[in-house]
């Protein structure tokens, strides 16, 4: 590689890099401008504006938007208030779904990735099949499973010989929502794990084999540590995705029974964008975001490399 592409260190001083001199100072900003305009209007401004909204009683249709300080937040933390009780019911739904779905969405895809981590005919075909549901999107997935899970005419009851109301009874609704989500996104996590497995140097496995390590020992001593960065990413992304579950519940259970499967993001959207109580909805979104960031911090903490000081 050319020395000129290295930007740091004394080399840069010794060989003046031509790419610096011949450009006007504003050239990089011209390259960045279109993206930064979008970034400012739809990413930076909304973060501040959302918080500002949460400090108000904000209805899009009413001219008066009185400042209420942290009143909306206080409301949410008052279990006696209507908003508070609705919100924590929804947070509970989000929590149940996340806790129930994330472990399955880590272990099963990892198992599938391990099965496919070898050279054999048809590997790419299997990979494509398991990944296929994910490209369909939640709308199609929701319709198909609404049909298959129908309590009266659904295939699931028919083939399992059951008479379960998957879309209206607790706890079957949770089994249904988690099951559908596993079917939908297993392939996504599996291909990410598979890519991670293929990045583990073959020599490590061979060295362990020469040392007489058993298959299980190789798995725990070579495979799992090698997968750590990928696992951090997958666990984190899966928690965030599960905590933002919306379409499955909207399409398959419609929040039933009695809002027990209405997730936090579902409630936020309904409160802010159907009832136009945007102050309350914004406050809800910041509380949910705080929980999500806490969860991410815990994941990064749990997977920290303890061997490095």
């Amino acid at each position: 590689m050319s020395l000129l592409t290295r930007t740091e260190g004394p080399v840069r001083r010794a060989v003046p890099a031509p790419s610096v001199g011949r450009m006007r100072w504003w050239t990089p900003y011209a390259f960045l401008a279109p993206y930064l305009a979008l970034f400012a209007v739809f990413m930076v401004v909304p973060i501040g504006f959302g918080f500002w909204t949460s400090l108000h009683e904000w209805d899009i249709n009413l001219p008066a938007k009185p400042f209420v300080g942290l009143g909306n937040y206080a409301d949410l933390f008052d279990p006696g208030s209507v908003d508070g009780s609705r919100f924590w019911t929804a947070m509970r739904a989000t929590g149940i779904f996340t806790v129930a779905s994330v472990p399955i969405l880590i272990v099963l895809p990892l198992a599938v990735a391990l099965l496919m981590n070898g050279r054999f005919r048809g590997r790419n075909v299997y990979r494509a099949v398991y990944f296929a549901p994910y490209v369909l999107g939640v709308a199609v997935v929701g319709f198909v499973w609404r049909y298959l899970l129908d309590g009266n005419i659904g295939l699931v009851n028919h083939y399992l010989g059951l008479d379960v109301q998957w879309t209206t009874d607790v706890p079957p609704v949770w089994i249904a929502l988690v099951g559908v989500t596993v079917w939908w996104t297993l392939g996504l996590n599996a291909v990410i794990f598979l890519a991670g497995l293929q990045d583990i140097p073959r020599e490590l496995h061979e060295a362990a084999m020469v040392d007489g390590a058993s298959a299980w020992h190789r798995f725990t001593a070579v495979t799992l540590p090698g997968l750590r960065p990928v696992t951090v990413f997958v666990v984190n992304a899966t928690i965030l995705a599960s905590a933002n579950m919306f379409g499955q519940s909207y399409l398959i259970t419609a929040g039933a029974p009695a809002d027990q499967t209405k997730t936090a993001i579902y409630l936020i959207a309904e409160t802010g964008l159907r009832q136009f109580d945007m102050g309350t909805a914004s406050a809800m979104s910041f509380v949910l975001a705080a929980f999500l960031m806490l969860a991410s911090a815990l994941v990064f903490g749990a997977f920290r490399d303890r061997r490095t000081p």
Binding site: L36, G137, L155, P229, L240
Partner: protein, 278 residues
């Protein structure tokens, strides 16, 4: 002995994977099958995998129905997904190039701020972005589903990783030939980045085509809806008409399935690698 054991293990592996694959595809097969059934058969308690008699009534009914202009939704989705993916490329590519290849004063600051937003839970953007889109008078129109999501940091992040790997010699040679930065970007960096650009286009297209939450709240009138949003409402109105629902689902799946069959490797490689290099 050893080879026999290996053969048995291999056969077992194929058996497990094949059974799983069949189970995996069966819901989609049943969706396709039901879309060709009559209304009565679709609501029957005995499963029927091959429709007999097969009919296109469901397709005819939803395509002909006035309150669910499914072809308009289809066109809307196509315009939105294409427009969104094009906008992502047009804005993220030059930005990523500048952040990867040019040296300037606030480069690290800008990049850090952009990457930091990858950690902001998107739920906090929902309400304010609706208000902003409302101020722009985009509610109930396609710009609302094309533009705001293009502010996401993923495209810039993804392309920057790619531009960082380009060798510097080509750019230097072009510079000696008197090319300016924009010419170097368009005639050297972009053509070399074609695989990454194609992947990003596909991922952006798929994400937008399948987006559900945002369009059902920001698009309101029947003729403005995208396909998933339209079908979402449609389900409420036709709860029991599974033949119609499955026909709608098949229509909504067609473009992504075609895209997936054509570009499966790009999609999977792109997605499986996108998270790893952070």
């Amino acid at each position: 002995m050893r080879t026999d054991l290996r053969r048995v293990r291999r056969a077992l592996l194929h058996l497990v994977l094949a059974v799983m694959a069949a189970l995996y595809l069966s819901p989609l097969v049943y969706m396709l099958s039901t879309s060709f059934k009559t209304r009565e058969m679709a609501g029957s308690t005995t499963p029927q995998w091959i429709p007999d008699p097969a009919t296109t009534d469901a397709y005819r009914e939803i395509l002909g129905s006035a309150d669910s202009p499914i072809m308009t939704w289809f066109a809307n989705s196509l315009i939105a997904a294409t427009g969104h993916a094009a906008l992502v490329l047009a804005t993220a590519a030059p930005a990523a190039y500048a952040l990867a290849r040019l040296r300037f004063r606030f480069r690290n600051t800008i990049f850090t701020v952009i990457v930091a937003t990858l950690f902001v839970p998107p739920v906090v953007l929902l309400i304010p972005n609706f208000l902003i889109v409302n101020e722009l008078a985009w509610v109930d129109s396609l710009p609302a589903v094309i533009v705001p999501a293009a502010a996401g940091a993923f495209g810039v992040f993804f392309l920057r990783q790619f531009f960082l790997t380009l060798p510097g010699e080509l750019e230097e040679a072009a510079e000696l030939d008197g090319c300016n930065r924009w010419q170097i970007f368009t005639s050297i960096a972009l053509p070399l980045a074609r695989p990454a650009l194609v992947t990003l286009f596909l991922l952006s297209f798929l994400t937008n085509w399948n987006d559900f939450l945002w369009p059902i709240y920001v698009l309101l009138s029947p003729e403005a809806l995208t396909l998933p949003a339209g079908l979402g409402n449609f389900q409420g109105a036709n709860n029991i008409r599974y033949d119609l629902l499955m026909a709608g689902a098949v229509i909504a799946s067609l473009p992504v399935i075609v895209l997936y069959l054509v570009a499966q490797r790009w999609v999977i490689e792109g997605i499986s690698r996108s998270g790893l290099k952070g």
